[in-house]
């Protein structure tokens, strides 16, 4: 199960319902607060029941509760705004198709999160991120092999990571590395869950995560070296 960060965001105003179709002006994605651990909305269970019975207004309310977390997840996983929008749309369409199958065995937010992850994974597979490519990414290159030199200890990063630099470095990771890094280190999935989702071995998941972190370390060190130059 994902770690406890995966809770519902703060409730918001219900978005336009189905009979209100006035187009809103296009707006770039905007950053809001770190709202991962907000308490669950007490109205969610009621909205869920009504949405399962086909109430569009209730479904719109569920969208308003979960849109930021699902959109943010998609954006992290693909690193592209347009794709993240398409994937968010697909995730909520799938939710609409499948909401009647939700039985409450897990928290709704967890179930929806997993559904969205699967939507993204399916899309990435369509684009060619296959198990083969994951396995190929596992093969050590000369500069990534075990004998690699990691440089002088006085260049270590401890306690000095610039968050924006790290976000940029994550965005620059190859898709396979980024995927596992996001799923494990950011979203909190365990290796056995990732292996199941990606249909790869647990060892692959661990190894690929390790290589992703190594690449991030290199990128961050390169960045700090660049900044240190006069």
């Amino acid at each position: 199960m994902p770690r406890s960060r995966l809770t519902s965001p703060t409730p918001e105003i219900t978005p336009n319902v189905l009979d209100e179709t006035t187009p809103a002006p296009a707006q770039p994605a905007k950053r809001v607060t770190f709202a991962r651990a907000a308490p669950p909305d007490p109205a969610e269970a009621d909205a869920l029941t009504r949405a399962q019975a086909g109430d569009h207004h209730a479904f719109a309310h569920l969208y308003s509760l979960h849109k930021r977390r699902i959109y943010s997840l998609c954006l992290r996983m693909v690193g592209n705004i347009a794709e993240a929008e398409d994937l968010t749309q697909e995730a909520f369409l799938q939710l609409h198709r499948k909401i009647s199958t939700f039985r409450g065995d897990s928290a709704f937010s967890t179930w929806l999160h997993r559904l969205a992850v699967n939507v993204v994974l399916m899309q990435l597979r369509k684009k060619g991120l296959s198990l083969t490519s994951l396995d190929e990414a596992m093969e050590p290159t000369p500069e990534e092999g075990p004998g690699r030199s990691f440089g002088a200890a006085d260049l270590n990063l401890s306690g000095a990571i610039d968050r924006l630099a790290l976000e940029r470095a994550v965005a620059d990771l190859p898709a396979g590395y980024r995927l596992i890094f996001i799923l494990h280190d950011v979203e909190g999935y365990e290796h056995n869950e990732i292996a199941s989702m990606l249909e790869c071995s647990i060892g692959n998941s661990k190894s690929q995560l390790h290589k992703a972190r190594l690449r991030l370390r290199d990128a961050l060190r390169a960045e700090s070296t660049k900044e240190a130059r006069p």
Partner: protein, 87 residues
């Protein structure tokens, strides 16, 4: 710092690191870490990156028009389902 003998042991240690870290074992307790400054720095960096990842990526608001696209797609699907049902 590693000497010649230590280089082999660095390679071995680093080859084991994905499993060591991934299994949740205390990699800092490994005897190699106690004696190798390079691997200690490497491990510290990887832990720092993993820790920093938990603070990454603030939640982002999707564009407002996204809901309109979704509800429009839902309508289309329902109309298709309705027309299929009426056949």
């Amino acid at each position: 710092m590693s000497d010649d003998a230590g280089k082999t042991s660095c390679a071995e240690f680093q080859a084991q690191l994905p499993e060591l870290i991934g299994s949740g074992a205390d990699a800092k307790a490994d005897p190699h870490i106690q004696s190798c400054e390079l691997c200690r720095a490497l491990l510290a960096d990887l832990e720092t990156i993993a820790e920093a990842a938990r603070q990454l990526f603030p939640v982002v608001e999707p564009p407002e028009e996204l809901w309109e696209h979704i509800e429009s797609a839902i309508k289309s699907e329902e109309e298709e389902t309705g027309s299929d049902d009426s056949k």
